[in-house]
């Protein structure tokens, strides 16, 4: 397996560093933009006046301490089937530092995961050579993992009606995969026929349609949801541009370092 280790180390290091960089900025953006809107939605979910509930964040978010049946009534959906029964005794973070700390940690991990996919895919095309090229790949990632799935399944707040979780997860994953393959056909396909296939692949999941809830009745005001959709997609855009740019900038540097020992004959 000649040359496996330097390449594998390069992919891992670049993905880890880019993931940490973009993840930190992404987490900071989310903590000031989307997370406050999630907390606001939970106040509506609890059925309390949102302002009063927000003032008492601790009270509003102690899911375990509240009556699960009353606190988590999902309009139009079966709470148990939707898998949102926090009251079942499962562990959950305490509001504030623990909850936001986990958001930071898992946003970093999300960054690492997406960076692994971005760097792996770009290696198939010869490897990222510059930060600008990386931004191009980052925009592709934004299209694949935010725009395409979000077209059928827009970012949702707690207490919003939604179809069966598993169905949505499958549609989300298939849509991301089809969009990635479609973009690859558009960007690298040698013939116009490949471009046509790319367009078809990207459109197909939307022609099938995302799983929709039985009813759209929701305790969440439309204005709050709209603000959340804008904030979520905007944060994702910054995250992907940064992730791609960092990966593209770091890849040649890390690759040179990884290959150095091999370049010197013993």
């Amino acid at each position: 397996m000649q040359g496996f280790a330097p390449l594998a180390r390069t992919i891992l290091f670049v993905a880890a560093l880019a993931g940490i960089g973009a993840g930190s900025v992404g987490a900071a953006l989310h903590l000031v933009s989307t997370v406050p809107l999630i907390l606001k939605a939970e106040a509506y979910e609890e059925g309390a006046a949102p302002d009063a509930a927000l003032a008492e964040t601790a009270a509003a978010h102690t899911h375990a301490g509240t009556d699960a049946a009353g606190a988590h009534q999902h309009a139009g959906t079966d709470a148990a089937a939707a898998g949102h029964d926090h009251g079942a005794g499962a562990w959950e973070p305490t509001p504030g530092l623990e909850r936001n700390g986990l958001t930071l940690l898992f946003t970093l991990l999300t960054g690492f995961g997406f960076a692994l996919l971005l760097v792996a895919a770009s290696e198939l095309a010869g490897g990222l050579a510059s930060w600008r090229q990386g931004i191009g790949w980052g925009l592709a990632g934004f299209a694949v993992f935010t725009l395409a799935p979000g077209l059928g399944l827009p970012p949702e707040l707690p207490a919003m009606p939604a179809a069966e979780l598993m169905d949505r997860q499958i549609w989300w994953s298939v849509t991301a995969l089809a969009t990635a393959l479609g973009l690859a056909c558009l960007a690298f396909g040698p013939r116009p026929l490949h471009a046509a296939l790319g367009v078809l692949l990207i459109a197909a999941p939307h022609l099938v349609g995302a799983p929709q809830p039985a009813s759209y009745e929701s305790p969440i005001p439309e204005g709050l949801h709209h603000s959340f959709v804008v904030a979520s997609i905007l944060a994702s855009f910054v995250f992907w541009v940064l992730l791609g740019g960092l990966a593209g900038w770091l890849r040649p540097i890390v690759a040179r370092h990884q290959a150095e020992p091999a370049a010197r004959p013993a």
Binding site: G3, F4, H30, V35, G83, L117, S130, W131, Q258
Partner: protein, 74 residues
Amino acid sequence: MTKLPAPGHPATATHPGNPASLPLDAASPAARALAVSLAALLGVLVLGGVGFSHVEAVHNATHDVRHANAFPCH
């Protein structure tokens, strides 16, 4: 970060022979395929754990990240 690629590392070349990837050109096609596949698999596992887990405690821990990043959550 705003520096242009160093001479000999043009940003335009994307084929496997481009100078930026020269240090890793020693990788055989099989090694390249394995490294890329393992990296992608690890990425899918990490994202699956954070964004798609049905384990209640994991869901609660990643709750805000799932909503904020528009992973299907509930």
